[in-house]
Amino acid sequence: MTLNVLWEKLRKRNKNDYRQFRFCIVFAAALISSYLMLIKSPLIEGALPEGGDSGKIVFLILGIAVTGCTVFVWYAVRLFLRYKSREIGIFLALGAERSMLGKALCVEMIKMTACCAMEGILSGAAGSFIIGKLLETVTRRYQEDAFAFTISGAIFSLLYGIVLVLLILALTVKAMRRANIMDVIYEQRKQEPLRKNVTKKYAFCGAVLVAAGIFLGYGLNQIAANLFGIFLGGWVNVFYLLAVIGLYQLLVYSVSCRQKGRNPQKYYNNLLYYGMMKFQGASVVRNMLVITLLLMGGLYALFYMPIMMSGSVSIVYEDEYSYRYLNDAGELTRRELETIAEETGTELLNYREGEFIRVTGSGIDRDADDSGRFIEDYYTDYAEYDCTSAAQYEKMTGIRLDIPKGGYYLIQFPDAKETIWFRFDDMDQLYAAREDIYLPMKYLGNTEYSALVITPDNGFGHGSRFVLNDGDYERLKDGLPEQKLETQVLFDTVDSDGEILFAKKIFKEFTLRMSEDMDVKEYYNLLKEERSAEAEKSETKGAFVDPENPLAERDWQYNPLLAPLREQQNVMGSAVRYLLFVYVAVICFAAAGISGYTRSQSVGIANRQFFEDMKKLGADRAYRIQIMKKQIRKIYVLPTALGVGLILGYSILILYMNDGVIKPYEVTVAGILVLLSTIIAGLQYILYRKSLKTAGRMLKFE
């Protein structure tokens, strides 16, 4: 009988401890590897624009996922080592050499973790295959690439498996290095007293800090800009830390508040419970805070879908195709478009062309200086704007506008709102080149036509497009060279399978045929470049666009609106993003669940002697069960209530603050958020029941 044989026997007898540990590693490895295999598959890689924000989000989420999974593996390992510590302590006390014991434990942990990681990676591969194929089916219309396993996906998954092995090895070595055998033996009964003696004032401060943290973190920038003209910048997010501190205070109060107050009976009824909490409070509060934050993170990720959906329903384009080009570019003619449509099995509908001119006009440049002070600079020659006449506008859109001389309308989205950076009436004069004078202009209002808002900054600032009086338009147009004249094209196509191919061909031709002046990035402003000092000139010349790949990220001022491609991008982008956020949600909930469950078991481990003593003092089974329930309820109820309540409130605040009102569809979204919160609270309840059962078994209540 060797030490390894004894070790093996102990493993067989303590299956439950091992099962939980194994489950956590398999689960973490499966989640991360399925995620990695998905994002590294051609299906997702093809759908994410190269170097774009979506790609960054994917890797940000990967970071969150890896952190979340690693945290709950860390929790599980610590709990497992707590179980093992008694065995280790006894072996040490009986004369086993620390190095020999450490080696045996490390070998066991490495073997077990490696096996579990492999199981996880294989399960992850199966999971990613199922999800990938499902996604492939759903997006078949918009995506040419199929799901496939890649070497990079497999390598990264293996790397994560190695990270898990190394993490567990490091924690095991750390556990083995403890010098004092008595601490190791009594590790399971370790107590962490909460020394704070707190009052209602402390809890009140906590509540104020939570409210202040959310208010300042979310709204301070807007308030400062609106009231004082100061842009404070991203650092205001630091205020969210106040909310975390406040949350901690509330949790500390909930655990350590023990005053007779007006209800001394309640105080005495809970005396034993208070006593238990007093010596485990610190770790309980820590756990409660982690669970609260994880639930908030998970719900925030889950809420992303309905909140984003509510945002996307607001823009409806009147035309499927809308693009503009300068007249010196040899762009596609109507005849050429019809030929491409014929080749790809589709047909042009409702084709219109309209004329715009590029005219120098005034505007206001708003920015924040180094000290955060908001600055406004008025320029007579602010930018070259797109201007059209009322007649041309009516020809393109069918909307008739009566515009007096010197008046103008701004073309905008429906429900467009002014921001701290842009106002509707920033332009008040336009330059007539032939006469060499500035014509004073007056803002009359907005005219809504989304398909014409294809310029930078959502049709604000240097991307503004105006409709002018016909007479003014002719005066401004007089003497302009060809490269200052612009053609706007609008049309639809009949629904057919060839639409995507048609759109791709147009995109390619349109891009290849651009003129020199069109070859600029989205934020290029010729006049701003001219007035900037040489050193401050931006590098906005030279568009960033790939004619062969319409899905790739691009930075181009003349980017066309091609609905089928846009839909393809949206569907794939949204599907991928939703999927990824679901991953984050699952990881957060899993980590919160494991954290709560392991803490509940710690209640059992740490209080075994306490419950035994209570039994000796005459406490019956029901009484002891009641005390145990109270302890475990504490771990679940308040964190769930706080986590769900706060994030729900915060999300509804976002819906409101977006435009200052809660619209009917936002009420539906809020309803969905409440439903999701209820489901998560329900899951927490199921976990609570399961934890009660486990802890009860541990304390022999069954």
């Binding site: 009988m1 004894l6 006894i90 004369g95």
Partner: protein
Amino acid sequence: MLKVNHLYKSYETGKKSYEVLKDVCFEVKEGEFVAVMGPSGSGKTTLLNCISCFIPYDKGEITLSGVNLSSLNEKEIAKVRNEKLGFVFQDFMLLDGLTILENICVPKAIRREAYGQMEKKAKTLMNMFGIGDIAGKYPSEVSGGQKQRTAVARALMNDPLLILADEPTGNLDSRSGEAVIGAFLKAQKTLNATTFMVTHDSFSASYCDRVIIMRDGRVHTELINNGDRKAFLEELLNVLKVLNGGE
């Protein structure tokens, strides 16, 4: 056998330092059964933990068969614990996943001894202490007294120079406690085992050859058993009564 010379040990709590052992000196001879008694906080368990090398001490010397324990490195300490010392804890410290027989075999398994000899020795000890019939059972399936006798058998597996027992009867009823003390006496008589036991129980201590009484971290007095157990118990109770503030 065991010599403790001018031993000092203190604990730090925050900025305060509490001296738990102050200049403790005594000796235990081979084959002797010695108990340490005293009020709570007198330093009994700390003394035992220092001798066990579970915790370090500040000053002084502990020698076992002429070997200074403080001069040993970790590997040598492990060897001493395994071969020279046997341990019996108040809450038994048996491994729940191993049977009674397997638990007793652990000290030899650590030494990687041949299993034939190991099992033979374990069975001899089990029969000696009346637990032979529960060899295949797990700790959760046997009584407290049987668990503690298993722990005594385990402590004797490697024929140690000294058995260190921390409140071995503390968690047992009087009948089981008596059986455990019986096991120590049997080990002393049959195997010439030396036992150093920390206890609160005067009845258990009355079986010992000698009782060291501690108070406030110092050796207060030593009582020697002259063979009349009842008279020794009486003497012990009187000393403890005075120590606890009685007349």
